[in-house]
Structures are given as structure tokens and as C-alpha cells.
Subunit: 414 residues, 2 copies
């Protein structure tokens, strides 16, 4: 894409009303715009990142037989009264229609998916079933100072699975736990499986925690066993498996998996006829990934003093191609020709490229902005190309450029 055509704006100064590094960088680099406390617009660059994360999630969940759907965000009051959460859920936005109907704005979707699944299943043959959506959620958070990590409106992937008994939930939860690690890995993050409270039927839920000094959570990590416990549930700082002293880490929670047992099936009377012809309650699990939060977490982990450093699979573009114009118009014609040819070539090879073709922007500004935006690979075409017929090439996190030819370049990028 031609950079002059992209709707974005970068800023030299930090925004005055943000404390979190992720929000500061995402705003400065033109990925998001702050509308109000805890509320952001996703600009085209930001949406590209979100869509890449979403597609990684879809790919991995579809592989294990999950099906995507889309549930309403206006939840009639009656559904939330059935679970007792209309009053108890502490971050529930509420609204009312002209006709007097009251709704909550979805902060989570158990109240909607259990009545749906009640209609879909009748026999044990209909189980297991695993349904997910990627959708906006609303939470009336009091504290919203962590940028994209804790918002009033955000995108979440929520998966719900339904089974015949507790063992099958636990078995499926283990499969999801593994898939989650893979999803986070593809997003560039080494998440740590962490025991946490919140289990209804099993003693623990699982949190996926990414270490970063900006984290809101604290975990006790065993580097030996590669597992952790949320500080909240630990009395002593020793690994429950190997007894080793645990390491205290600040972390961001990017996902969680819960065994819900029969809690919601009871509230909505979701039953199935088992092989023995008896009617039984359905067992369920729920599994969340904060999608916009994940983008924030990635930025917290991958940045330096110059800007963001996107991991390849979630970068808005793979390559940033930059033309550096000189004072000599004749030379510039050559630089332009070579740059546009390479741009076409990369497009043809289906390599996603952002091409900074702008003529009214200084070389210094272009390079500073490029580091801020943080596309993984950078190709610079300027004076050096004219001298050596080679491209200046570097990864965003390299200190120096390498001079390489077209064949070498394509080999690296394909």
C-alpha cells in the first residue's frame, strides 16, 4: 500500500492523558485513537493488526473443531436475572428501550449461549459442541489507566464448550490450553500457564500470563516446571511440584480457561438424554482471549525507545519500503523507478508492503516514523542503491543495515 494513501497520523509528543506504554505507542504511531477514558477507535493500521490476530485465533480454533457464530450484545434483563448476575456483576452497563425492555451490554455471553445450546442439543449424540465468537464486549470498568489492556469497550474471543461430564470438560480444556499457547506464540508471546482462582468445579482456572513490567497481575513462576500460580491463590512462594523457590513476575493476562461445571446449565436447565436414557445436566467450559488487550500486550513486550517492533505474524505489513530522495532530480528519477519496480514486484509475490513513496517528507522524518510504526522488515532505496545497486535492508530490531541484492531480498522475505 502507498503510505500517502493510508489514513493515519503519527505524533512526536506523547499523549498527555495516557500512562501506559502500549497506548502511548499505539496512539503516537497511528494505530488507535483515544475517544474517551477506556474507549478507542482502531485506525486502519490498528485494525490490520487486530484482523491478523483474529485470523490466527480462527485458524487454530477451527482446527480443533470449534465453530464460529455471532451472539447479540443486547442481553434482555430476564436472562441475567436467571443467573443472579443482573445485580451482582460489578461492571455491567445497562440500557433500556422506549418500550420499557431492559438490557445489559454484553460483558460476557454465558447468559445468551446457554439458552441457545439448550435449543441445539437433546441427546448425548449432540455433544460435545464448541462454539466461539469474536465480538465487541462492554465492561463498566472503574480503573481504565492501562491503555488497551483494560477498556470499557473491547474485542474478545469467547469460546464455550458443552460436554457430557466433568472429565470431558477437563480433557477439552487441556486441548484448548495447548492451542492457546500456540495462538500466543504465533502472536510473538511466550505466555505462562498459570493456576488461578475462579474454578467452579475444578479447584483452579487457568490464566495465560505474559511477563512485562507493565503487567497488572503478579504471578509466582517456577522456571523449572514452567508453570506458575497467581499470587492471589498462593500462601507460600514454593513450587507445589518441585518445591523450588518461585520467581515473582509482573504479568498481563491475555487469556483464560474455565471449567464452568453445571453452574449455568442449572440456571437455564440445559439437559441432554444420555446413553442410559436418563436426563442429565450438561457440563461446560468457557475460554477467553482479549483480542484488543493482546495487541496492547504485544506492544508492551515488543518496543524500544524508537517505537513498536511488531512480531511478523501480527504486523500490519511485513515490509516497509522507503524511498529516500536527494537533492539531485536526475538521481531521484532513478530512485523512484527502482522503488516502484520493487513495490510492484513485492505485491506480485504477495508480500505485504507499505511503501513510503512520499516526496514531501524528509528522509529523517521517514526513518523516524518507520521505527515508530515498527514494521518487521525495512528496505531503504536511496544514494546507496545508486552507488552499489544493492538495497539497504534491515530488520526493525537490527542496529545496522545490510546491503543485499534482489535475489537475496526475496529469499529472506518469502
Amino acid at each position: 500500500m502507498l503510505q500517502s494513501k493510508v489514513a493515519y497520523k503519527t505524533y512526536k509528543e506523547n499523549p498527555s492523558d495516557e500512562e501506559a506504554r502500549n497506548a502511548i505507542l499505539l496512539i503516537k504511531a497511528g494505530f488507535v485513537e483515544k475517544v474517551s477514558s477506556g474507549i478507542y477507535n482502531l485506525l486502519p493500521l490498528g485494525l490490520r493488526v487486530i484482523q491478523k490476530i483474529e485470523n490466527i485465533i480462527r485458524e487454530e480454533l477451527n482446527k480443533i473443531g470449534c465453530q464460529e457464530l455471532l451472539l447479540t450484545n443486547l442481553h434482555p434483563k430476564e436472562y441475567w436475572e436467571k443467573t443472579g448476575r443482573w445485580q451482582k456483576f460489578d461492571v455491567l452497563f445497562k440500557t433500556q428501550s422506549q418500550t420499557g425492555s431492559e438490557y445489559s451490554l454484553a460483558p460476557t455471553h454465558e447468559e445468551i449461549i446457554f439458552p441457545l445450546v439448550k435449543k441445539l442439543i437433546s441427546s448425548y449424540k449432540d455433544l460435545p459442541i464448541a462454539l466461539y465468537q469474536i465480538h465487541t464486549k462492554y465492561r463498566d470498568e472503574l480503573r481504565v489507566k492501562s491503555g488497551l489492556l483494560r477498556n470499557r469497550e473491547f474485542i474478545m474471543k469467547d469460546l464455550y464448550s458443552f460436554h457430557r461430564n466433568n472429565e470431558e470438560v477437563e480433557k477439552f480444556k487441556k486441548i484448548v490450553d495447548k492451542v492457546y499457547l500456540k495462538i500466543f506464540k504465533r502472536c510473538g508471546l511466550d505466555a505462562i500457564e498459570t493456576y488461578a482462582s475462579g474454578g467452579t468445579f475444578s479447584p483452579f482456572s487457568t490464566e495465560f500470563q505474559v511477563p512485562t513490567p507493565a503487567g497488572e497481575d503478579t504471578i509466582y513462576y517456577c522456571s523449572n516446571c514452567r508453570i506458575a500460580w497467581n499470587k492471589e491463590i498462593m500462601k507460600e512462594r514454593k513450587c507445589k511440584q518441585c518445591k523450588k523457590e518461585l520467581q515473582e513476575l509482573k504479568t498481563i493476562e491475555v487469556g483464560n480457561t474455565f471449567n464452568l461445571g453445571t453452574k449455568f446449565s442449572e440456571a437455564f436447565d440445559v439437559r441432554y438424554i444420555d446413553k442410559d436414557n436418563k436426563e442429565k445436566l450438561v457440563y461446560a467450559g468457557c475460554y477467553g482471549i482479549g483480542v484488543t488487550r493482546l495487541m496492547g500486550a504485544i506492544v508492551e513486550v515488543y518496543n524500544d525507545e524508537k517505537g513498536i517492533i511488531w512480531p511478523e505474524e501480527v504486523a500490519p505489513f511485513k515490509v516497509h519500503l522507503i524511498s529516500i530522495y536527494l537533492k539531485d532530480e536526475k538521481k531521484n528519477q532513478k530512485i523512484k523507478k527502482i522503488s516502484y519496480e520493487l513495490y510492484e514486484k513485492l505485491n506480485k509475490e504477495n508480500i505485504e508492503v507499505l511503501f513510503d513513496e512520499r516526496e514531501n517528507v524528509s528522509p529523517g522524518e521517514k526513518l523516524v516514523e518507520s521505527d515508530l510504526i515498527g514494521i518487521p522488515y525495512k528496505i531503504v532505496i536511496g544514494e546507496n542503491y545508486l552507488k552499489y545497486k544493492k538495497f539497504d535492508f534491515k530488520k526493525r530490531n537490527w542496529k545496522y543495515y545490510k546491503q543485499i541484492n534482489l535475489a537475496q531480498l526475496l529469499k529472506i522475505l518469502k
Copy 2:
């Protein structure tokens, strides 16, 4: 996909609380679930249709240089007060945070995108710019009896364009009008460009109306000039171009395009520095397509007494492959083998196929359900295949099956 793995349920009886044919069929065929008046869940089959419509829209809008973003749905009260619409907009859902902040739930996004564009542009060089999103909208409608056509929560594509002057808006609006006809055409609909009220700067807005007896709108159509006028703005029933008598049609509005002039630029003081160094107000247009409504409109147009007949580009699957089992177990082994082989073959060729491989469902039930779901091409493998080594093949709207071999089949489907 294997049909036994799809989360859906079909119904023989019409739902008791729906009047509109689109909702009756979409519920009976397992595409949507009604949660409450004007509020529906999209089940996996329904979401597949929606995602196909969305991708058609993306493809066509990206071609004319529009960029996708995602705007917040929680709109701070201040923004809506600036345009005077906090009180005046008649279908505005409102909510309030624990901290006292008030929000509207987005029914449209002018109040959010104009302040954003104010930040993105400064010079005439930054114009034109065209930004769109595909996102949930909320409207507190009083009348919600038309199924998917008028909901409290729905998916909409909204595009906003920003220009230097009125002529450029009109020029771009004409381009969008053409693209809209193409988008609807790809969705199987011959939409009629219709003059309507609502123009702020130009005397008319344009509505895209699809004729169907279930339509809520009435237009006067000139078959000669192939244009129409919304009945609301016409005093006499004569074409303004050729003076011919106009035909009265019931229609569904699936899209509209507006010239907004400087109305919102004034409210949010969105200006640019022109070539002559003078600061001027930005001119804008807005362009909507109701995505969930479009699905409803397609079903209103494409159905018969047996069920839905999806146009190919928006069908949840291209092919419905159905195994018809007999009483003879030996024959069934052959039918099963042939069916699974064809299923693998079609998957390999990237032809989207739903395979009704279920063994506990009768042939009659399978075929009735297949007609209800309405996938465009049907392949039946049963007794006939064993006799003639040919597939029973028909399009959903054909009366009779044809017997064809694999080569013929692949030629048709590829």
C-alpha cells in the same frame, strides 16, 4: 464440512412469534436464533452468509480506495450534544458508567468519525479520504416486526468520505452508487437506484431498493429509465425524465448514499488549508449498507415453498452432498465410500461443501432439510449411483435431477 458437526437445528413448524418470511425461513433453517424482539443470534450457517457479504463489500470498497477501520460503539454524550442529536435522534439507546459518564450506543458514526478526521487532515493534500467499517449498530426501534430487516441490534457497513468541495462529494457519491449496484448484484439482488429525501446539500439522497412484496418502502419506478423515486417525495406518478407513467413497487431498502455537505464539519469544526492558503470546511458524504438486513432481503427474494434458495456468492456452502442410505448394508458401504471420496475430492478442489453424512436420518428428512437450508448445488449419492455410476445432480431451483459423472460435475462446480 460434515453436517453432523455443524451447530444448527431446523424446525418443521413456523416460529409462533414471527410474521416476516425472512425471519421464519432463517430460523427454521438454522441460520439465526431469536433472542428477543428485534434481537437475533447468528448461528454458524448465518455467520457464514454474513461473512461472505462482508467480504464482497470489502473487496469492492477497497478497489475504489476506501480504507477499513473500526470505530467505538460507546459514544460519549458530549459528541452527540455537539450535533444536537443527543435529544433529537429518535432511536438512541443510552447508557451510563459508574463514574457518571453518559454514552449513546452507536446507531450511526458521524459523531465519532468527524472528530477523528479532524485529527487526520490538515491540508488539501490529505483529501479526499474515504473510511469505512463493518460493525454492530444499535437502534431503539419501536416497530421490529420485519425479521432481519429492522432490528434493535444489527450489522452495518458505514462509509464516510471527505472532500474539498461539493463537486468532489457528488463525483465520489456517483462512484459509490455504481459500486453499490455491483455489490448488490454479487449478492444476487437487482437493486434500483431511487431518489429520496434526506439530502442536506444536494436535493436528494439515493436509496438502493430491492422489489419484493414484503418491502416496507414504496417506490415509483420507471422501467424505461431504470430509476425510481421514493413515494414520499413524489407528488405525481410520472417519470421526471421521460414522463412515462411510473410503476408502484413495494421494496426493501438495502443501502443509501448521502451528500452530507458541511453539516457535521461545522459541528466539529473540521477544516483544511486549501491551495489558496485559506482555511475551509471539509465536505463529506456518508454511505450505508445494512449487512444483516441484506441477508434478510436476499431471503425475501430467493425462496420457495420448500425453503431458501441462496445466490451462489453468498451461500453458506456451494454444494450440498447428500448420502442416501438403503436397507442393504453392503450397498451402504459402497455409497459411503463413494460419498466420502467425493467429499475429499471437492475439499481438495476448494469447493465449499456441506456433506450430509448422517446415518441416523431418513432420506426424506435429509432432502426436505436440504431444500430448507437452500445451498445452490445438490449432489445425491444413493441407489441411482450404484445402478448408473452417475451422481444425481441438481441446482436448488431445478425441478428434476440430472445424472452426471465426476468430470461433468467438476466442470460445473469449478
